[in-house]
């Protein structure tokens, strides 16, 4: 009864409620304007200047600043669009030379507010995804996505435009869920031309669209394949065409794929490679103990960049190609599953799984990339109790893994309070959604839903986070002083990596069981 009533709720009202959630978040984001921002801030500022002041043919070849343009063309066009307003606010922002490392209030306000406004894309995506859900699921998802602490930390403090890009992804998923495959594929192609890191989900899209959209006989299927192909090619042509025209395409590609960077980012993302490196170090240590002489690797990981020589002492070297194969291997069971049964209900789950694989096994993965699977997983999290329980821990762990991004003392209370608040809201939201009382009134599958509890394993894990954090903040500086400055960060990587690996296994099992 209650759910039917909420189904009938009119859309303007849902919109109003959603905008309320967004508004509250936006106020906090406004307050965060003077907080710490990383060099990504200057990167994006430089791109504003670059696109405004230089002709298109030089966008990808300019070297005025070390922060060269390395996103696909749509993002460059996006910066070009923003630079119109930037010039109105303060012409110095868009000056290639004079604007270098410009830090005035105008540029900070402009760029910060541009991120807040571009979040509206995410809001629209979420609106499309949730407008047909029952009220409780809808609000739970708003809490998870619109009030996501990870997005606040990465976008509104560290500085990036992930909210906007994830909004495109969410929109694409919502169209796929509605069965409007062409629109979904189109939006995904657009997203790829904004940020190519999203390409990890490409195989999932490919197999899904091939099986779901291009069916109904050979002829009709081929026709539809051709239609979809045309759409995608048109998008890519719109993005890359102008650069092709100027003969810049080689330059664009080489900027977009800088394989010269190492396997791991300066701070190790909590993924599979952390364990691989640790295993290597451990083996080398043991072998040395047993008297076997091994050459010490010339390059170190902590430096961030890896040269030609292998940094591994014992284990085989990892190349970009091998990481690609690992990702595809990890994806393959899911792809087989999609091939067999391409139903729109599970699209979000598959896409999140693809990004999890990419995060876990990819080359030079940033810890920020965990957003790519945590945000779409929110769609899945509100669907069943097990998913909610899984999401609860995963979300806490990945948010915690973002802590090293904000290393200054001023932001410390903010990140801690954000994580605590998020855990609490999730806890309340999920336990209200999955309570025994609630299930009796919910319309479907009420029998199998129990109460939302965190098992002892989960509780131990959360306590572990507190211990890891206390060690890094208090005990490590107290006992070891300045020695091993990398150890607390490493500990965070390993500890969060455990949860990400667990989540990967869990998601895989869940997909195979469906």
């Amino acid at each position: 009864m209650a759910s039917r009533q909420s189904m009938l709720q009119n859309h303007p009202e849902i919109c109003r409620h959603l905008l309320w959630f967004f508004g509250v978040a936006a106020c906090v984001k406004l307050l965060l304007i003077p907080s710490y921002h990383s060099t990504d801030f200057e990167v994006h500022r430089h791109w504003l200047a670059l696109t405004r002041s230089l002709p298109l043919s030089q966008w990808y070849s300019d070297e005025t600043s070390p922060w060269t343009l390395d996103y696909p063309p749509f993002f460059a066009y996006f910066e070009y669009f923003l630079s119109f307003f930037a010039r109105l606010v303060d012409p110095q922002i868009v000056d290639v030379h004079q604007g270098l490392n410009y830090e005035a209030d105008t540029v900070v306000y402009f760029q910060r507010i541009s991120v807040i406004v571009s979040d509206l894309c995410l809001v629209y995506g979420i609106y499309r995804l949730t407008r047909k859900l029952e009220a409780k699921k809808r609000v739970a998802m708003w809490i998870l996505v619109i009030w996501s602490p990870a997005l606040v930390i990465v976008d509104h403090m560290h500085f990036q435009y992930n909210g906007f890009l994830l909004g495109l992804l969410m929109l694409s998923i919502s169209y796929l869920q509605d069965g409007r495959d062409v629109m979904g594929g189109f939006l995904f192609a657009v997203l790829l031309c904004f940020k190519h890191l999203f390409a990890v989900a490409g195989p999932v899209y490919f197999v899904y669209l091939l099986r779901h959209y291009c069916r109904g006989g050979l002829l009709k299927g081929l026709g539809r394949l051709a239609a979809m192909g045309t759409v995608v090619v048109a998008v890519f042509a719109a993005a890359f065409g102008p650069f092709f025209y100027h003969g810049q395409i080689q330059q664009v590609i080489s900027r977009m794929f800088p394989f010269g960077r190492g396997l791991c980012h300066a701070y190790w993302a909590p993924n599979f490679w952390v364990f691989y490196i640790i295993l290597d170090k451990g083996l080398a240590f043991l072998l040395k103990k047993f008297g076997i002489d091994i050459p010490t690797p010339a390059a170190s990981f902590t430096g961030g960049l890896v040269g030609d020589s292998s940094p591994f002492a014992v284990l085989p070297q990892v190349t970009p190609l091998s990481t690609l194969i690992m990702v595809l291997l990890a994806l393959s069971p899911c792809l087989v599953k999609i091939w067999k049964n391409p139903h729109p209900g599970s699209v979000a789950r598959w896409i999140s799984y693809a990004y999890t694989c990419g995060f876990l096994f990819g080359w030079h993965v940033h810890e920020k990339a965990s957003l790519h699977f945590v945000i779409p997983l929110a769609i899945v999290a509100v669907q069943s109790l097990e998913d909610a329980q899984h999401y609860f821990l995963l979300s806490i762990a990945t948010c915690y893994s973002l802590f090293p991004l904000l290393y200054e003392a001023q932001e410390y209370p903010i990140k801690v309070v954000l994580l605590l608040l998020h855990s609490m809201l999730m806890w309340f939201g999920f336990s209200a959604k999955f309570s025994k009382k609630g299930s009796s009134s919910s319309s479907s599958r009420s029998g199998e839903e129990g109460e939302f509890v965190i098992g002892w394993g989960g509780k131990c894990y959360i306590i572990g986070i507190v211990i890891v954090e206390t060690w890094g903040q208090l005990l490590h500086p107290y006992f070891l002083g300045d020695k091993l400055p990398f150890a607390p960060l490493l500990l965070i990587s390993i500890y969060c990596g455990v949860e990400v690996v667990y989540s990967w296994v869990w998601q895989l099992k869940r997909i195979m069981a469906d």
Binding site: M1, A2, Q5, S6, Q9, E13, R16, H17, W20, F21, G23, V24, A26, C27, V28, L30, L31, L32, I33, P34, S35, Y109, A135, K136, V139, A140, I143, A409, Q410, P413, I414, V417, L418, L420, L421, M424, L425, F428, G429, S431, A432, K433, S435
Partner: protein, 524 residues
């Protein structure tokens, strides 16, 4: 036992509500009071700390700086000098440079915070050399002292108050309780002044709030102690004194042995004062010296542009030129007493908890409007009881918050806090209009009839919004450099006066039907 039952009733109500209008905050209320209090206070912390990222009063503005430097200087003085010398002008303690002018509890608080600062950043509190000290760590530590005071004093007081208030008015719905907590904790003016401008109002207001809660839960002696502490932290808490006095007097008069009760309260008050003033009680001179520091009568009747009677009427009557300070002091005292007399009489005749809350509001408003040397920040004091009563009269309360913020706008501009002002203002609008909640604007507006008063209020409201922009962008004419400040003051003042009338009548209307119910409660 009783409370458990009530909790259940509350829950049922909330669920009914869900079905009715799709309240979006069901998830928050699923668990008990403790959990949503925790959640809301986390949000409160987040807002406070993010505001504290911004500028503070007198940042990078030598030689006098602002309130931030004043507080830091007091820490410097209290940490380095013995308690007897804190209020005395000496070679080590130049009182003309931000001399300590708050009661001893503030000094003790500065001492504790000074120790904290000295531990982490000794340079920031060294005698003499630390004047005008500003640094990243210094700001961080100072901000942290405010946040921790807020967390240790104001937050628990709010919880205590909510407990006491909804015990008395046991008909509270869970959703109401949650919104009420939110309104008290996220009071934009308080957050802006304490965590932006830099002051410790959270301590004195928190203690006063705890005292109110103690009164509501019939612990009069505890209330006396807490209120005395509040008074001893900031003398501005006197704004509440008439309400406390009249309510307690009224209560005592209705007991069996009025004199005994009154003397008990009196002894507690004296005892608390004696404890706080202990270092200065060894001689008459020492005590008088401290006292003279607290009463800044040498300053004028008003400062800057504060939206009270003296400042606003000075546009027409030049009080400062016409009368000596001596007689102005008398005028203001008489006016203040006259203004809060009606509410005092009401409480002495018919003390009730709701009447007491109104009394607090009325007495603090009359002090704000008529007393001597009022600062624009003093609007925080009437605002506290207003938030406590917010669930009674949501619409006037929203307007009051608006004008309270508005009256501080010039100050906020001086402190370079416009961005947090805008953000907090917007946040308040969102929080005051939760979708699907009781105060949801979209559903209510149809029912309000279009009267002359509401049209005027709306026009004034729009005018004030426009004035914000005008104040920021337009340069005032040469002849009247403070034209916009005066307009802001005039608008705010007229509304405050309206509120004072409104709340006084409300308080008096209470007594009609409350005398009976109060008698019933006493027999209980």
């Amino acid at each position: 036992m009783d409370r458990n039952n009530r909790g259940k009733v509350g829950k049922d109500n909330v669920e009914l509500d869900n079905n009715k209008n799709g309240d979006v905050c069901w998830w928050l209320l699923h668990k008990g009071l403790a959990s949503f209090f925790l959640c809301i206070s986390m949000f409160g912390l987040l807002v406070r700390w993010t505001v504290s990222l911004h500028s503070y009063s007198g940042a990078g503005n030598p030689p006098k700086f602002g309130d931030y430097e004043a507080q830091r200087h007091w820490m410097e003085i209290t940490v380095n000098l013995p308690a007897q010398d804190w209020y005395i002008n000496s070679t080590k303690n130049d009182l003309s440079y931000w001399g300590l002018d708050y009661p001893p509890l503030t000094a003790y608080q500065s001492y504790i915070h000074g120790l904290f600062l000295r531990f982490f950043d000794p340079e920031s509190v060294t005698l003499f050399t630390s004047r005008g000290y500003e640094s990243y760590t210094g700001k961080l530590l100072m901000r942290f002292t405010v946040l921790s005071s807020d967390l240790l004093i104001f937050f628990p007081s709010v919880l205590y108050f909510i407990h006491a208030y909804y015990d008395v008015h046991s008909r509270g719905r869970k959703a109401d309780v949650a919104w009420h907590i939110l309104l008290i904790l996220i009071n934009p003016c308080l957050v802006l002044i304490d965590h932006g401008h830099f002051q410790y109002n959270c301590i004195s207001l928190g203690l006063a709030l705890a005292a109110v809660a103690a009164i509501l839960s019939q612990r009069d002696l505890l209330a006396c102690v807490l209120f005395c502490l509040s008074l001893n932290h900031k003398q501005m808490s006197t704004y509440f004194a008439p309400a406390f006095f009249s309510h307690l007097l009224g209560k005592c008069l209705r007991r069996k042995h009025p004199l005994l009760e009154i003397s008990k309260l009196g002894l507690v008050v004296l005892g608390t004062f004696a404890m706080v003033w202990w270092p200065y009680l060894h001689s008459r001179d020492a005590a008088l010296q401290v006292l003279s520091r607290l009463a800044p009568f040498e300053r004028g009747i008003y400062e800057d542009y504060v939206a009270n009677f003296w400042c606003t009427s000075s546009v027409l009557i030049k009080w400062k030129r016409l009368f000596p300070t001596q007689s102005l002091r008398l005028f203001s005292m008489v006016a203040t007493i006259l203004a809060c007399l009606p509410s005092m009489i009401q409480q002495i005749l018919a003390p009730s908890s709701k009447g007491f809350l109104y009394g607090l509001l009325n007495s603090s408003l009359s002090f704000y409007l008529f007393s001597f040397q009022v600062h624009e920040k003093s609007i925080l004091l009437p605002l506290l009881p207003a938030t406590l009563l917010a669930m009674e009269w949501p619409r006037p309360f929203k307007l009051l918050t608006h004008y309270a913020l508005f009256s501080m706008f010039p100050l906020v501009c001086r402190d370079n806090l416009i961005l947090p002002y805008i953000a907090l203002y917007a946040l308040c609008i969102f929080l005051y209009h939760p979708p699907g909640g009781r105060w949801d604007g979209a559903k209510r507006h149809h029912s309000t009839p279009l009267t002359l008063v509401s049209v005027l209020l709306t026009l004034a409201y729009l005018g004030s919004l426009v004035l914000h922009i005008v104040y920021l962008t337009v340069r005032p004419p040469e002849r009247y450099p403070f034209l916009f400040e005066a307009l802001i003051m005039l608008l705010s003042f007229s509304h405050f006066v309206l509120f004072a009338f409104h709340t006084n009548t409300k308080q008096w209307m209470l007594s009609g039907h409350l005398i009976g119910s109060d008698k019933g409660k006493k027999q209980h």
